[in-house]
Symmetry: none
Amino acid sequence: MAIPRLLVVDDDVDTRGMMTQYLRQNGFIALPCDSESAIMEHLTNGRVDLILLDVMLGDENGVEICARLRDEQDVPIILVSALSADHHRMAGYQVGADDYIAKPFNPDLLLARVRAVLSRAKRSASLVYRRSVSTFRFAGWTYDAKLDEVTSPQGFQVALSRKETALLKVLLANPHIPLTREEIATSLDVTGEGQGAEASGRAIDVLVGRLRGKIESDPKQPELLRTERGIGYVFATDVDVEGSA
Amino acid sequence: MAIPRLLVVDDDVDTRGMMTQYLRQNGFIALPCDSESAIMEHLTNGRVDLILLDVMLGDENGVEICARLRDEQDVPIILVSALSADHHRMAGYQVGADDYIAKPFNPDLLLARVRAVLSRAKRSASLVYRRSVSTFRFAGWTYDAKLDEVTSPQGFQVALSRKETALLKVLLANPHIPLTREEIATSLDVTGEGQGAEASGRAIDVLVGRLRGKIESDPKQPELLRTERGIGYVFATDVDVEGSA
DNA sequence: CTTGTCTGTAACAGCGTGCAACAAAATCAA
DNA sequence: TTGATTTTGTTGCACGCTGTTACAGACAAG
């Protein structure tokens, strides 16, 4: 199972950034959102495993959004509220939220809830990504997330830089799913909010090229890290994940 | 049976674009519309297999339009609504809608409903184009949809560009059926809103020429990709499909 | 035949991507 | 701290893909 992709929906940049950063540090893919339309976009464009939804969203109302999402979707939702009032919690459950957290919350609590909801949501226990877990295998290659070691099919160890490793992780977590440059950039930018972090330039292109140079047998005709013209990049190979607690 | 042609009627550009794009990615021909007159135009000018009709259409009322269409036509209609209110659903069924979906909806759900209505509407199950099919054979040629590899009767591998591949796919999916330039263009344009995408020009003609140059033994006297003067192009050869789920 | 419409195609232009080379920034050693 | 080394982002150019245009040939109707 791939690394869970979470949507962090909050209109406050700081909160959003903190949560995003924390979740990423703990092995999740966290995508910051600030509106319902952004949520829909993500839902349309790719897999989303859990939505952390702030109740207060400027004009929009988190509870209503939750209700609407729940009407048709089956994505787990955790409501987050700055208010501790219980009626909010009730309202939340009524519209089908999977859990409810009051701000300010203990980061570990957040993590615990997220994991609980994720594992409750789906049957397979391996759904939840455990940091300590960690061997990815693809096309003869091995990536040991714990030791951060990449081993070629011939058994040679390949040294990847931090960003290269991060890129590989995102790709391994989303095999066969085309990722936008923006999505990739957001995932790489571990400093919390990726807002304008990658506004300029073609850093991702270059990074992809560098990674290709290290893991593709023929970088000119990539078989693992394929280009989706006009869209972004895809990891076009099946990936086996081997985990341990 | 040809690829189903769907009309996506919604006055919001984003929604329309998203739905259109998603449907196209899944093998349908999706034509964006924003008014009743546009619908009528399409109904007049060509085959339409299903209409996805937004209930809120600016000044116009989707339900009324639905009723009017139903009065004269027998095109299946799925109503789409931003409101979850049930009376809308009821009203929809009363005027003869084939199904009803509330926005925001799960893309896969949309797809499921569309397919259900289409197959319910009548005709063989093969109506729905299956993208998961893997190997096409025609006149000695082979096209492996999974690897995107085209192999000539002599066993040589031929490199096709993205659009060329897309064109070939549409043709292979509809052997012996003349396809309009518009139909082809719509199928190729995966970038969402095709509105003016193909308004101008003869891109299709040129594309066809290029594909001919690669797969016809004598591009001057095409045997596979024939021209239907005044109409469009036909793939004039039997195609064997070897599919898997 | 002529005329007008439709199609084939070469030539060109714009865009996105790969990549090398450079510059800036981060990391490390002392 | 300083300076060396590595990593990362930027820039410029080349190249392939794609749509447009213009013109010539093909076809249909008269």
